[in-house]
Symmetry: C2
Subunit: 213 residues, 2 copies
């Protein structure tokens, strides 16, 4: 399989963790987001959304949207599972994943930040405040979901990593890069540390990617 990624793309980071946990090997092609390579006609032909990641299967199918890719990996390689077996548990894990993927990450996507500073003329300081605002508000909601539930274990749901952890860890990394205040999110911080101790997470981190700068 071939993954189109970028070391700092947190959506690609989710998929790297999933591939590692599933024990699937993959090659990478790098699309430099800061140089706007994702806006090229060549890349738009691969993904008209002009977003990372894209996973090209061994049969040549191009898959987009990180959570759809992770669900696909779960479908074709069920072990180790990234979702629990019971419908309520599955709903909880997916809700935690979506609380990051829908409520935090899209607001801090590079194209959104460019619209703020470019089209709306927002200052760099206001842009960074915007970034931290959504990370802090969003992770505090995730913290409340985690802290309130007896199903939270060593990881977001029990004692093995799930799709929720795959979304949480890259979001925490992004938040730290922008100096978000995580002091009100002790469960999030604890789970992030538990994940980082696993090789599948550690080797997927931005610092370990060949295109890191």
């Amino acid at each position: 399989m071939l993954l189109y990624g970028y070391f700092r793309s947190s959506a690609a980071y989710r998929v790297r963790i999933a591939l590692n946990l599933k024990g699937l090997t993959y090659d990478q092609t790098f699309i430099h987001l800061a140089k706007l390579e994702q806006l090229s006609d060549a890349f738009a032909a691969i993904n008209p959304q002009k977003l990372l990641p894209v996973l090209v299967t061994d049969d040549g199918a191009s898959l987009t949207q990180s959570l759809a890719i992770i669900e696909y990996l779960e479908d074709i390689r069920p072990e180790p599972p990234l979702l629990p077996k019971d419908p309520l548990g599955r709903a909880r894990v997916r809700a935690l994943a979506l609380a990051v993927a829908c409520e935090i990450h899209p607001l801090n996507n590079p194209r959104v930040l460019r619209y703020l500073t470019g089209t709306l003329g927002v200052s760099e300081e206001q842009k960074d405040t915007w970034y931290r605002h959504w990370v802090e508000e969003g992770l505090q909601a995730v913290e409340a979901m985690l802290a309130a539930s007896p199903q939270t274990g060593r990881f977001c749901h029990g004692d093995t990593p799930t799709m929720a952890d795959l979304c949480l860890v890259p979001q925490v990394a992004n938040g730290r890069r922008f100096k978000a205040d995580l002091s009100r999110c002790p469960t999030v911080v604890r789970i992030d540390a538990a994940c980082q101790a696993l090789e599948a997470f550690a080797s997927a981190s931005p610092a370990q990617q060949p295109d890191v700068e």
Copy 2:
């Protein structure tokens, strides 16, 4: 089951369509987003994300995040299916759903619009332009995904509605409300019309809700 919703919440609209397609009956409790009822302590105790929808199951479990709720409904009531059986088809449908749920809808959430006009002092006109920008750019990407694929049928994937259609129709409704230009999205417009012809979609529309204003 009990759905916490609001006639204009497009995420609640997705779940209403899913419940209708699955033939599941439900009661509704209305949370008036424009009056900020979702920010009350009472509602935050139900969903710390302070977002709609919430589905309370007959066993009393509170589920959040519309796509997690729809996947739950698919798990407990597989017929009629809202996802195809083949992994690549499932990945395509989920990617189309997420292209709306992650790339368009979060940017136009009421709390984001409040941040723009309140914290950043953006004008009403700039806010409306922002809204249309993400709808138009996002739906043009969805259009390209649909137009390029032989798997697109009467609906987004084949000739029966899927999770992709459940996300598309409420987003088109929102776009039209803000006078987004859909002229470059003929496939989207055609599929929206095909969906509207189905009772499950029509009866889930904002205009048909008891709390419509």
